[in-house]
Amino acid sequence: MYTQALDIPQPKRDEPAGRAPENAAYQAEFDAKIDAGGYIEAKDWMPEAYRRTLIRQISQHAHSEIVGMLPEGNWITRAPTLKRKAILLAKVQDEGGHGLYLYAAAETLGVSRDELVEALHSGRAKYSSIFNYPTLTWADIGVIGWLVDGAAIMNQIPLCKCSYGPYARAMVRICKEESFHQRQGYDLLLTMMRGTAEQREMVQDAVNRWWWPSIMMFGPHDKDSVHTESARWGIKRISNDDLRQKFVDATVKQAEVLGVTLPDPELKWNEARGHHDFGAIDWDEFWAVVGGHGQCNVDRLAARVEAWEDGAWVREAALEHERKRAARERRAA
């Protein structure tokens, strides 16, 4: 997964049903369940705003998994060995699976798969901005596993305990599979670092390009975040800045073992805080990429739309085939 806290204000629609007086009893029951750390299940009553927040977050998350297959899929045919090709194929297939678990979870909230796909293809729905950066060399594949999947894991683990049952269960399944993604990436980089000077340079170059986008994956600073209700509802359990700090702290040692430098001159241990300090994030770049002006936004969406449209006749033929088979069966009966 690659959720990113895309705390973008949503247009206000009609007053959430939960505010209506006739729903006060339901609301109280819902609040009590949340306060007790319980789970909300698909058919349970929930405030409209809770449902909308979940649909938005889960579908953005699903879209990110699906679009996330593109930058890596780009390298499947050029993997340097059969072993690396098999590993990369398995990883990309996992990401496709993650997208499908999550679409299924979103659909339990009463939205159809086609509506979700349409929202992505029309550009209305967002996906993680990280996938709008290009994968220029084989080292990028290792760095994506190490840093991008690594950041995703930090984001995802708290979601395994989020208050919406179907989302939490999908996240448990996803988290079990993500560790392989990060480890294969790091392993790939270790191999390159034991190679030639040119290969080591490729790794450093990839780290230089992916470091900042990776720490942007945690989303805007807490003071600039708008969706505070997510915390009250038990959807977001740890804040963007806390997760980002955890990620930075964990990554410093890994970079050292690998023998690369993280491209931030201000990155240093702060004894008093017990954490690493790091430099200012370029939020203009972040918002530009979220807003559609990253290097690959246009290509990524075009690739998704093309795949969907090229597959349309197959989806229709399969439905028609089943319709005819069922009709034959009825006649025979």
Binding site: W45, G97, A104, A170, R173, L319, E322
Partner: protein, 95 residues
């Protein structure tokens, strides 16, 4: 409007013999055969199962969450259905 979306199937996987099939998610597929194949690819990439059931989602009849009190609360005060209700002398309490 003509329906273009593949129907939804609920997927149940038996992780190994001796255990129940357990619900693990859902897939879209045009027919039962493909639903099984898709479920295999989506939910058992690491030998998570030895058997899969797929059920058309619309064939599932579920209890109403609002009916929880009348359905399940009547069992609450029937504590005599549990073995711990009966206090027996220590010497025979392992019964």
């Amino acid at each position: 409007m003509e329906r273009k979306e593949w129907p939804l199937w609920e997927v149940f996987v038996r992780s190994r013999n001796g255990l129940d099939h357990k619900h693990c998610g859902s897939v879209h597929a045009p027919d039962a055969k493909l639903a099984l194949q898709v479920a295999r690819d989506v939910y058992t990439r690491r030998q998570e199962g030895v058997s899969i059931w797929v059920v058309p989602a619309e064939a599932i009849v579920a209890s109403d969450p609002d009916a929880k009190p009348e359905l399940f609360d009547p069992a609450e005060d029937k504590i005599y259905r549990h073995p711990t209700f009966y206090k027996l002398p220590d010497e025979v309490n392992h019964m």
